[in-house]
């Protein structure tokens, strides 16, 4: 029997009035009238859309699964140029309007940050190396699904961009990340070139950014995009269900890419085939995943992504080093699953 989930949102938006005090002064809530501050309203609406997505699609009651009130503070600091989930609430700094526009402008960014809260409560997933990149990927995956769900988009209609409204006029770039084409989101004299890889052969070893968590998430992001396009339709209905089950039911705090791949393969089999329950309206994913998991892995050189393992590294972003080898071998079966999905989508 399905468990009843409250869809009654509780949202508070505060202003820090350019101080560092949290949460600050309450300016908007479910019982307080909307004003003219764009950032206040966007923070309120973005948290509401994210709440609705998890409640309606996955029957999850807020970030913690227990109806947690969603608090957001805008105008944090005089020149704090970022937005974050701090473990308790959303915090938005103030953009300069030139390099960055507004940190509340992209609903997928708000959903990304709030998904870190879901991950915190559901899986306590770590934040270093592959585990951290998986954590970042999950935030992007649910972030883009919130945007697609809000816009009523199927996978083929989505721009697959995270933070398309974040950069200001001084920057040559379309977004902070591209899930369709990692590494191409921006190329600019001020902010540099997007360093995200799309393939395990280009996994970046670095001591920065907790082991490149915002960089190597591109590998899983691209896999997610390819799977969504191959399956077609609404991303959140099939792929989202698998990803959500993996996040909330299967991941250990130290899970790596291979653990996540195995979890999604197992869940896909259980939900859509491979001896499990097969949904009548969406049989293809079950057959595709079940089929691909029962055949030998293909070599990376035959996978769709172009290998650049031997290419010289010219990243301007720090001591990054691209590696292949054992990690790539461990990951090769995931690309086989995706290749199989793509083949089936064409037949």
């Amino acid at each position: 029997m399905a468990t009843a989930v409250s869809t009654r949102k509780r949202r508070n938006v505060y202003t820090a009035n350019h101080t560092l005090r949290l949460p600050g002064k309450l300016v908007l809530s479910e019982h307080k009238a909307r004003g003219t501050d764009v950032e206040v309203n966007e923070a309120y609406d973005g948290s509401g859309s994210t709440y609705d997505f998890f409640a309606i699609v996955f029957r999850r009651s807020s970030i913690d699964g227990r109806g947690m009130r969603l608090d957001s503070t805008v105008h944090y600091g005089e020149s704090f140029e970022n937005a974050l989930w701090n473990g308790r609430q959303m915090v938005y700094g103030h953009a300069d309007g030139r390099i960055f526009s507004r940190f509340t402008a992209s609903v997928d960014v708000i959903a990304h940050e709030l998904t870190h809260g879901v991950t915190q409560f559901a899986a306590a997933l770590g934040y270093h190396g592959q585990t951290g990149a998986l954590n970042e990927h999950l935030a992007d995956a649910f972030g883009i699904m919130v945007k697609q769900w809000l816009l009523g988009q199927t996978a083929d209609k989505s721009d697959w961009l995270i933070g398309a409204e974040i950069f200001g006029p001084a920057v040559h770039g379309v977004a902070v990340r591209s899930m369709a084409a990692p590494g191409t989101a921006y190329d600019d004299p001020v902010i540099g070139k997007d360093p995200q890889p799309s393939h395990m052969h280009d996994y970046v070893e670095t001591t920065e950014d907790n082991g490149g968590v915002h960089i190597n998430s591109g590998i899983l992001n691209h896999a997610f995009y390819r799977a969504a396009i191959a399956l077609g339709g609404r991303t959140w209905e099939v792929l989202g269900r698998i990803w959500y089950a993996a996040l909330t039911d299967r991941l250990r705090p130290e899970a790596d890419f291979a653990d996540f791949v195995q979890a999604t393969v197992d869940i896909a089999g259980e939900l859509y085939g491979n001896g499990g329950k097969v949904h009548a309206s969406s049989p293809r994913p079950g057959r595709a995943w079940a089929c691909s998991s029962s055949t030998p892995a293909v070599r990376l050189s035959t996978s769709p992504s172009r290998s650049r393992a031997s290419a010289p590294l010219s990243s301007p972003h720090g001591p990054f080093r691209r590696v292949g080898g054992r990690r790539a071998d461990r990951f090769s079966h995931f690309h086989h699953h995706l290749t199989s999905l793509e083949r089936r989508s064409l037949t």
Partner: protein
């Protein structure tokens, strides 16, 4: 369902972008980016430390003097 405090801080703007801005822009933009990076580090380490001590003060922006000066300029 576990109720485990988050032990990290993810910013919407990744550190490699802020680092690049800090190193390749004018004084004002560079200073803001440096201050943001420093504050992000302090939020992360401050909260990590507070998890062992006083969880109720998690994320309340403990700053060193230099960062505080930049953010409150």
């Amino acid at each position: 369902m576990p109720n485990i405090p988050q032990k990290y801080v993810c910013g919407a703007i990744p550190p490699h972008i802020l680092t690049r801005v800090a190193e390749h822009t004018s004084n004002e933009a560079s200073g803001t980016a440096r201050a943001t990076l420093e504050h992000m580090r302090e939020l992360a380490t401050g909260r990590a430390a507070s998890l062992l001590q006083r969880p109720t003060e998690v994320g309340h922006g403990r700053l060193n003097a230099e960062t505080s000066q930049r953010l409150h300029r």
